[in-house]
Amino acid sequence: MTMAVQSSFKNMTLCLFAVCIVSSALLAAVYAVTKEPIEAANHAKTINAIAQVVPEFEGDPALSTIEVGGKEYSYYTVSKAGEPVGYAITSSATGYGGAVTLMVGITSDRVIYNTTVLSQAETPGLGAKCTEPEFADQFKGFNPARKKLSVKKDGGDIDAITASTITSRAYAKAVETAVTVFDSITAANTADVDAASGATSECGGQEAENQETK
């Protein structure tokens, strides 16, 4: 079929301009319509993940961030009857096929309640088995004060997935990071309490200033 429109400079410019304008207008409309459902879906997913890794709680988990070792970690504080019962901490470590990102739930007594994988790109059938209970359930009720958070090959207490030591290491590493983050959170909280009661300690100085400016 012969083209009805000549390929003159003016025609080409006009045509591409029109195509782009119409496409972007269409996209803007779809974006506006899907914005809320996407947010709702993401929110539901997060809440779901939190509910899996911490004990029963009330109200909406509160999102906060904390800086540990130059990296920023986000965590959710869940509470029941006004008392914080635990934290759901997002942490990740590099596995075999990229980052393995976990949500790690740690109760106030520094025991890991449960863990869940938020995203991973490990090999299906090998490393991807880290999402299965056979491996992941080892971390349920894991007390890092009594056992060592690394695979048995490295002298720890975690049974690695067969032929997927790198993934297992990454998983253990991410959980370990979460414990470190937990320690920083509790340290910051204690400092907060100290600051509120008027006591000034060296590490609480920063928080005390923050309290005043609020």
């Binding site: 390929s7 003159s8 045509c15 195509v19 782009c20 779809v30 899907t34 879906a41 299906p124």
Partner: protein
């Protein structure tokens, strides 16, 4: 050519996967299970039908020299729409297919149909062509996914019928090539008989 023929030709004679060997990237990568293959196929059908129709309707007004960029923008727009809609309403499937949804933009099947068919035919014919080729692609991906899932994980459509592992290699990349090769041989054998 009748409308029915337009639809059926994509299934056998011009089957994009088994006959034309187009769109190998999503074919090999997403078919780790039957469900994944089918979702990828259906996502492509959506884009293929809409882009075929849009391109067929606008082709007379697009100057020849800029037709490829214009087609790509149209296709990319539909892919992004699909991506947003999937993210909103089927987040689980969106997560599994992940990167391969945006990659539909550069899937040669879609641009191939625009160039070879949609820009010279009517909107209705182009829609039929899109449905035909798309269903052929979906069929091929589902079949490949099913074979790999049965051999590799010992399950079909997520329903597990053996305990323990399958032949692991079929879930991994090399298994995709092997399974696809055997399916193509089988397909050629069946269609060669028919063709006589």
């Amino acid at each position: 050519m009748g409308k029915i023929q337009l639809i059926t030709k994509g299934f056998v004679k011009e089957n994009p996967t088994f006959s034309l060997l187009l769109g190998m990237c999503p074919t090999l990568a997403t078919t780790t299970s039957a469900i994944n293959g089918m979702s990828m196929g259906l996502a492509t059908v959506f884009v293929l039908v809409l882009s075929n129709m849009a391109i067929s309707a606008t082709a007379p007004y697009i100057p020849d020299k800029v037709r490829i960029p214009a087609y790509i923008v149209i296709i990319a727009a539909f892919v992004t729409i699909l991506q947003l809609v999937m993210q909103a309403f089927t987040p689980d499937i969106y997560e599994t297919l992940g990167l391969f949804i945006p990659l539909i933009v550069v899937n040669c099947i879609v641009l191939g149909r625009a160039e070879a068919f949609a820009n010279k035919n009517s909107v209705v014919d182009s829609a039929c062509d899109g449905i035909g080729i798309g269903i052929g692609f979906t069929f091929a991906l589902t079949l490949l996914g099913l074979v790999r899932e049965i051999l590799g994980s010992g399950s079909a459509f997520g329903y597990k019928f053996i305990t323990g592992d399958g032949i692991l290699v079929f879930v991994l990349a090399p298994g995709a090539f092997m399974a696809l090769a055997y399916l193509i041989v089988l397909f050629k054998k069946v269609t060669a008989k028919k063709g006589e």
